[in-house]
Symmetry: C2
Subunit: 429 residues, 2 copies
């Protein structure tokens, strides 16, 4: 007997998952260990940048008014009264026809209001002191980086939920975040099931394949910003599988089972959900591949049942698990970034369900094109390695042709989207 | 006295650096620890995928010829002689008017040449055995995933020098790479210099700023795929700096000094290069920011002297150090990926040197647009955090306007380019 399941729209399934969204606790890590972690609080400037008026060049700080009449025909001489390197502050005040030699990054001395670059003056060391000769006039404020022109104290610069990249790490250092508040990474339990599965270090035998989904999902978990715990692969013992799932639910924040929970045609998951008293959110989605993706909830924790087919498993994770993880990490843009691109191939066969096809973006003269990679079957594993996007071919009554504009989900992007892709709903009957 | 340096073209400076390129040694890591590492050898299929003809659905394996006359008006009955789950192989051969119940992923039994899906037949358990009734004919090969249709044994699937992502990790698992040969990450020494620098945990004092470049570069090093060792920040002691650089050169594969090696206007680097007997490759480049980027070579090891200005430092790393690192990691595409995009702003002022402006890509209807982020001054640190590309405004006699097509270097991309961006050379005099 075959259970008839009613397929759910992709968008509705995402909404079901996101009903259970939560934010992770705050964890403090050293600045040295923060790469790729997600800010748990906005990054705020603790001082103006620059923190003082400073010189962007090596040169001489002086009073613009003194140079008013300087020209090639009328060179003027100023007396150099001090010399300051970056990190040092002059004790002198620049007076009438005086200058202070100043290095890049040093604070503009009192009295001065502009800087002339080193290479534009003639310097002359005499017994009574150093003189510079200047042949052009300066404007007040010329060659000064003003306090606060980059950012003002108190400005929030980066939202919480953003992954720390080199530029953000520079900001953290600048503003004294020697310890950084990040969101605790959710711990995701992984149970790969299927009696056909061998470990990667086992020799192939007839009828069996090596477990690749488990490793792939672990890598997707890391890329999404979470961490994982691997549980023993269970194949054909309902009681053992139930006990393992129960344990994993206790120990982890989310649980993912991948594929092959069928023995014969008996699907263990519904029975396990029943035993757990879990609340089934969905078990069929109007999409290809991955239509058998399921999700249940128990005491606020989600159990994702991803397909055993590599592509279906991969896509199920990116569409449904990733946004939950990114929201946990406080991201306001938890969904895969959606952009438009032009198809380079025909997909002439119409499909009742929306299709997510592994694609590769090609940029040509400022335009985004996309072409499929490898064989587009859900059991195919090789093309996943080459894909940098998922091409969306919405379900309906028509095919798609070379030149059609379609939507793409970017797989390697950190920016994300505020909203998920939404299909146009139509009658599925 | 000011040293007059002759600026070098960006492309020529890159060529100088790449003269000293080398490949790192091979290191073996566990499959569990390979994420983000770079393959040191091509990934090759150790078996056909699928490894045997298998069923993509739950259903019944049978002989297509037996169903030739089946139709709605002429349903035919077949006898079910066995039942196999994934990972199991039937010992029976399918004969005339026989079928074997088969689960997704299981090997197609001997004698059968097609699979009918579970939901398309009527199953009837009788005392003498199970019968199925089928109302349509099947074609030979229908619903079979054929051995090797995804990939053939011996096929090289991924080049060496490619970073391991979830799809590649799945392939490694599939093909039995429980240990993975990756390139050893080059160790890059970092010496941040400048008497104006405070540590991130220090309070600001007049004239000083916190060291951000060191942390930023460390993060860029990790993103590029290398590892770093931080040396004490040295400000105003030539001998101490020399000793530290000598030690770091011994211990590391590459050395980066950032900024502020000036005390007064004395630049220590030329003197240190002389003492080391290092070979100066360049010390001025026709670009903004970062024109003071320098590089020297000693016994085949490179010493990069990056600017003390955050943006100049950042860009110097991405243009000159990153390709060296990626080549070390055996990448055939070590340079930042270059694409075209349309400017959303005016840069009306012509520049003698090529400018690299921090930008953000905006996708609109399948087109790539780009806009600058934050203040475009080399001392500015905040905008680096928001940039996802560098907009290239080649030097010359004209400015650039809204709507102009320009080239962009992608900062967060893993694919890279085979060749660096090359400026059109013109007379710099």
């Amino acid at each position: 007997m075959v259970e008839r399941r009613k397929p759910m729209w992709v968008k509705d399934a995402i909404d079901y998952v996101m009903q259970y969204k939560k934010h992770g606790e705050i964890e403090i890590v050293s600045l040295d260990d923060c790469d790729g972690r997600f800010l748990a609080e906005p990054l705020v400037a603790d001082h103006d940048v620059p923190p003082f008026n400073r010189s962007p060049y090596d040169g001489f700080a002086l009073r613009a008014v003194d140079t008013k009449n300087a020209s090639r025909d009328n060179p003027l001489s100023l007396k150099v009264i001090d010399e300051i390197g970056a990190g040092h502050v002059s004790e002198f005040e620049v007076g009438h026809m005086e200058a202070i030699r100043i290095m890049t990054g040093a604070q503009i001395p009192k009295g001065s209001d502009s800087v002339v670059m080193l290479e534009l003056v003639k310097e002359e060391k005499r017994s009574e002191g150093t003189l510079i000769t200047i042949k052009r006039s300066l404007k007040e404020g010329e060659n000064i980086s003003f306090q606060g022109e980059d950012t003002k104290k108190g400005n929030p610069l980066i939202d919480r939920g953003v992954a720390i990249n080199p530029g953000i790490k520079a900001l953290l250092a600048t503003f004294g975040y020697s310890n950084v508040k990040v969101s605790r990474r959710p711990l995701i339990g992984i149970i790969a099931t299927g009696s056909e599965l061998l470990n990667p270090d086992e020799e192939l035998v007839p009828g069996k394949i090596r477990n690749s989904n488990g490793y792939m999902i672990e890598s997707q978990i890391l890329r999404a910003g979470a961490q994982y715990k691997r549980y023993a692969s269970i194949s054909d013992n309902l009681d053992k599988l139930y006990e393992t799932i129960k344990l994993a639910l206790d120990e982890c924040d989310i649980l993912i089972t991948t594929g092959g929970v069928s023995v014969g045609d008996y699907d263990y998951l519904p029975e396990i959900y029943r035993r757990l008293g879990a609340n089934l959110l969905f078990n069929k989605i109007a999409m290809r591949p991955g239509s058998v993706t399921s999700c249940a909830e128990k005491d606020g924790k989600l159990l994702f049942g991803l397909s055993g087919n590599p592509s279906a498993c991969y896509i199920g994770f990116e569409l449904f698990v990733r946004p939950y993880i990114r929201t946990w990490l406080c991201s306001e843009r938890p969904y895969l970034r959606t952009i438009s691109g032009t198809l380079k191939n025909d997909f002439s066969k119409p499909n009742p369900f929306s299709r997510f096809v592994r694609g590769k973006i090609v940029y040509e003269n400022g335009n985004v094109f996309v072409e499929p990679v490898g064989l587009d079957k859900s059991g195919v594993v090789t093309s996943l390695a080459w894909a940098d996007c998922l091409m969306i071919l919405p379900g309906g009554t028509r095919g798609y042709m070379n030149g059609d504009q379609i939507e793409l989900l970017l797989l390697e992007d950190q920016q994300g989207s505020e909203k998920p892709w939404v299909e146009a709903k139509f009658s599925k009957s």
